[in-house]
């Protein structure tokens, strides 16, 4: 962000804002006039007590101060498939300013039934690149850091240290257990989600709680029931939306979390069970 005249900014906002809202067209003018990125423009607008109009429908549940807090937050989404695609979409629209998106895979045809980022045209191309393109289209203020790698015990601490929240959108149990260990070590909250067919589980794991170690204590190897049920379009959307709500509340320090419990989602019988895990 280059040096600029705060007085000039004040005048610009007073002239172009409607109430305290600044339209996208006027934010673009502001970016051109001051040579700003969208992220920096959002920041200046909000710290001046105005709100980019893109966020106006957030405002009755999220104040301008909280919107600014989201802009200054960074979240890692581990996995850009079924869960990850929706989580990235929702966090970008919410206005989380920095997203690290991690996935070593490329899109395959069998992803098309449920993965938001998968399209006919991007089959064979990297999932993290699709995430970058999508976020640019829906909220250019969000800075996306794509990593086409697998996260494991060898690289996880270095990669994820400093995040405000890590989202588990991984497709295997071993990776999840590693992720919990990494988050425990770097003291970052982990928002857990797992799906199989009509069913899902979601939870919020604060450092020190090691819930997954307990949940998967009887696991030795292999996949869960997703190997026989597959995954339809709606189950990842439900689980990912529950995860995004948890991320929002962790970032804002607001509301009640799924702590030391998991929410078991059964869309076949349409039952949600809140299970304490001690």
């Amino acid at each position: 962000m280059k040096e600029f005249d705060h007085e000039q900014l004040k005048v610009f906002l007073a002239e172009h804002a409607q109430g305290d809202l600044l339209s996208w067209a006027n934010e673009l003018k502001l970016m051109n006039l001051f040579g700003l990125s969208c992220n920096s423009a959002d920041e200046l607008i909000m710290t001046s007590g105005f709100l980019p109009s893109r966020y106006q429908r957030n405002r009755h549940m999220i104040s301008t101060e909280q919107q600014y807090q989201l802009l200054k937050s960074q979240v890692a989404v581990v996995g850009c498939g079924g869960l990850g695609g929706y989580v990235i979409e929702e966090l970008a629209r919410l206005g989380v300013g920095r997203l690290m998106v991690i996935d070593s895979d490329v899109f395959e045809e069998h992803n098309l039934n449920r993965q938001l980022l998968a399209t006919i045209d991007n089959l064979g191309t990297s999932k993290v690149d699709a995430a970058v393109k999508r976020v640019k289209q829906i909220n250019p203020a969000v800075q996306v850091d794509p990593r086409q790698i697998a996260v494991g015990l060898g690289n996880g601490v270095e990669l994820l240290a400093g995040m405000d929240v890590v989202v588990d959108a991984i497709d295997n149990i071993n990776g999840r257990l590693d992720l919990e260990q990494i988050c425990h070590q770097i003291e970052v909250p982990l928002v857990y989600g797992a799906i199989a067919g009509w069913f899902g589980q979601v939870g919020c794991i604060k450092p020190g709680q090691r819930i997954l170690q307990k949940l998967y204590a009887n696991w030795t190897a292999g996949k869960g029931i997703e190997s026989s049920f597959g995954n339809p379009s709606f189950t990842p959307a439900v689980a990912a939306s529950l995860q995004s709500a948890e991320v929002c509340k962790v970032l804002l320090g607001h509301g009640g979390l799924l702590e030391e419990r998991i929410l078991s989602v059964d869309l076949l019988h349409m039952q949600f069970d809140d299970i304490p895990v001690q």
Binding site: D171, I173, F199, L215, L268
Partner: protein, 75 residues
């Protein structure tokens, strides 16, 4: 005999039940209940006895509440 409140979740409900009070002989273990219900051990995820995580070897007592979840690992 002991009475155990057995709660099944997700796919384990299909062709079985949501919750039932079932009678078992003394010294019945979680593994015995799982076997009696025809649930493959490899599909078992969470086992909660009175809200606390247990393993298959745990012996049940009268009035226990046992919740059995399948292994869910997809993303």
């Amino acid at each position: 005999m002991i009475q155990v409140n057995v709660k099944l979740f997700a796919s384990f409900r299909i062709g079985r039940f949501d919750r039932e009070i079932r009678e078992y002989p003394q010294a019945t273990t979680v593994a015995d209940v799982v076997k009696e219900l025809g649930i493959p051990e490899g599909e078992i995820g969470i086992l909660l006895l009175n809200s606390v995580h247990v393993d298959l070897k745990r012996q049940l007592v009268d009035k226990d509440v046992l919740a059995i979840f399948p292994l869910v690992g997809g993303g």
